[in-house]
């Protein structure tokens, strides 16, 4: 493989995987064919067959339908969390980087404090005190996720604000808001997008972990994490329950990681050599 083709292949396969799973999530009711929560106690733990491609779980629910609907939850939670934390990080990081001085110093200390907690454990504790629900899950993960975006944006703003074209726009009388929105932001969206792609992978893993522990999405919503948790109880007799949920998470995360790797090489040529 040569250097030029590397990122393209990564982007191609990343887009393919993410696109396919997005499609699956979008058309879940059509693709699933069955109600993911429908219990059929006569047909518990049936191995994969034509009617149940991934078998049935300990309640007789169709695992394939749960996987299809689970893609919805994973993508929706990850999309919301990454959108919220990236927006928050963009605003706070831009403000700190542009203002400088004590504003920057104070905000950086705040970022340091958020950074001082391992993200997963802070999100876990926040969900625990707020009470598990979809909304609280998204809030908790966004509250821990914005700091890394803010740190990245701040660094870029510090670097970009002294670029000649930004200085010349200021010399022409652009107000600070205009300067940031029209001259600085367009130049950092690439890097922000790369970070957001990797963050999607991270949030999907974290969300499935929280759901696995019973602290993520409510039990009535089909999710991959919850499926792994119920699959664990029947691991010996029905490994396909855990296997289908686990592989789904891995494939989706892999898709975002491939996409992120490929896009980083495109948007961040300074790091081109770092595979």
């Amino acid at each position: 493989m040569n250097m030029k083709r590397g990122p393209k292949i990564f982007i191609f396969f990343g887009t393919l995987i993410v696109g396919a799973l997005f499609f699956m999530a979008l058309f879940a009711p059509i693709l699933a064919g069955m109600d993911p929560n429908e219990m059929d106690l006569k047909n518990r733990l049936i191995p994969p067959s034509f009617t149940h491609p991934f078998g049935t779980d300990e309640n007789g629910s169709d695992v394939f339908s749960k996987i299809v609907y689970g893609a919805r939850v994973s993508l929706m939670v990850a999309g919301s969390v990454v959108f919220l934390s990236a927006s928050l990080g963009l605003l706070i990081g831009s403000f700190a980087g542009y203002k400088g001085g004590w504003v920057d110093l104070t905000l950086m200390r705040l970022i340091d404090v958020v950074y001082a907690f391992p993200g997963f454990l802070l999100a876990l504790s926040l969900v625990a005190v707020l009470g598990p629900s979809l909304k609280n899950l998204i809030i908790a993960m966004s509250l821990t996720g914005w700091a890394s975006f803010a740190r990245l944006v701040r660094g870029e703003v510090l670097y970009l604000r002294q670029k000649e074209y930004v200085l010349s726009s200021r010399a022409l009388g652009a107000n600070p808001l205009r300067e940031i929105v029209f001259h600085i932001w367009p130049n950092l969206f690439g890097i922000l997008f790369v970070q957001a792609t990797f963050a999607m992978a991270g949030v999907i893993i974290a969300e499935s972990g929280l759901s696995f522990l019973g602290l993520g999405v409510p039990a009535t919503t089909p999710s991959w994490g919850a499926l792994l948790s119920s699959g664990r109880k029947v691991l010996f007799d029905a490994p396909y329950v855990s296997l289908s949920a686990g592989i789904s998470i891995m494939v989706l995360v892999l898709g975002f990681n491939l996409l992120g790797d490929g896009l980083r090489d495109v948007f961040d040529p300074r790091r081109q050599l770092k595979g």
């Binding site: 340091d112 876990l124 005190v129 009470g131 050599l273 770092k274 595979g275």
Partner: protein, 308 residues
């Protein structure tokens, strides 16, 4: 060097203050009355008043905050609501198990990641490199909630090589450590490969070659030593994360560490234990990161000279 250490150390103080404050506030984020949540609706008014007094919740917020810090300085993190034992003692009991698991995982990950990454970086785009890259990207995409059940199914249930769960002898350590080590080794491999690639383009490597050193010596003595510097940072950060208890791995393997202590406290609404665990976790994390910074500065004179 001492200036560098002092500067880093002083930067820790506001972070620790913030960490302590967040841990304190955590319990106050609970919507509604924590006492009702802990005791349930049917508890008598007297019981509620007693619990409120023992948690200091009847005091004004500022008094509570000051009492909290005073306690911390005396090593008092409060008492468990369920077992009535001091939180500090509970943490002290659980930490060795987490420490053992985290350290084994990091050592295992280094043993896999460094040689594989160095080899991949030394021969870019070779078959070895491609295999390494594949392992790298698959490894970082493998969540513990998936890897752990797979390991249990194959090595415990089918092959019966290792016990399914619970901490007993050394053999009970293998699977949990491995399930943490695989993703970490993938990260180390990627970093090590990238920095090896970067280092081999440096002038001092050309100098070493032109001196007539063997390729083996060039790579092992000159390239690898410098390529390992970025690995210090990532291993430090990851060790910090692992030492704080990996809730999921500890839960799956029934490992009596900090992670399972926190999770069971959450499930039992044992808020003093939750608060204590969160604080302990953050302090450990910050301290390990601080030591990592020092190690990085020690290994890379450019950093500490630039900073002081």
């Amino acid at each position: 060097m001492s200036g560098y250490i002092l500067k880093r150390f002083l930067a820790l103080i506001p972070v620790l203050l913030g960490v302590g404050t967040i841990s304190f506030l955590l319990v106050h984020f609970i919507p509604g009355d924590p006492v009702d949540l802990i005791l349930g609706d049917r508890a008598s008014l007297e019981d509620k008043a007693n619990l409120r007094a023992s948690l200091n919740l009847d005091q004004p917020l500022t008094t509570q905050y000051l009492t909290y810090w005073k306690g911390l300085f005396q090593g008092d993190m409060g008492q468990s609501l369920r077992t009535h034992r001091p939180v500090a003692a509970l943490i002290q009991e659980r930490f060795p198990a987490t420490f053992e698991l985290a350290l084994s995982a990091v050592v295992l990950a280094l043993l896999i990641g460094v040689p594989a990454g160095a080899l991949a970086g030394a021969k870019p785009y070779s078959t070895a490199d491609m295999t390494g890259l594949g392992y790298g990207i698959l490894g970082i995409s493998l969540p513990a909630i998936f890897l752990a059940p797979v390991l249990i199914y194959v090595f415990s249930m089918k092959l019966d090589w290792f016990p399914v769960s619970e901490r007993s002898g050394w053999d009970s350590l293998v699977l949990p450590a491995l399930s943490l080590a695989v993703p970490l080794s993938a990260v180390i491999l990627r970093i090590c490969r990238a920095s090896m690639l970067e280092v081999t383009g440096e002038d001092y490597i050309r100098t070493a070659r032109s001196k007539g050193l063997s390729e083996r010596k060039v790579y092992l003595v000159h390239a690898l030593r410098n390529a390992l510097i970025p690995v210090i940072t990532i291993v430090g950060l990851q060790l910090g994360a692992l030492l704080t208890g990996t809730v999921i791995t500890e839960t799956i393997f029934d490992w009596p560490g900090i992670g399972t202590l926190l999770l069971s406290a959450i499930q039992q609404r044992d808020y003093p234990v939750v608060q204590g665990c969160v604080l302990f976790i953050a302090v450990i994390y910050v301290t390990v990161n601080f030591l990592t910074d020092l190690a990085y500065g020690f290994a890379n004179p450019r950093i500490r000279l630039q900073d002081s």
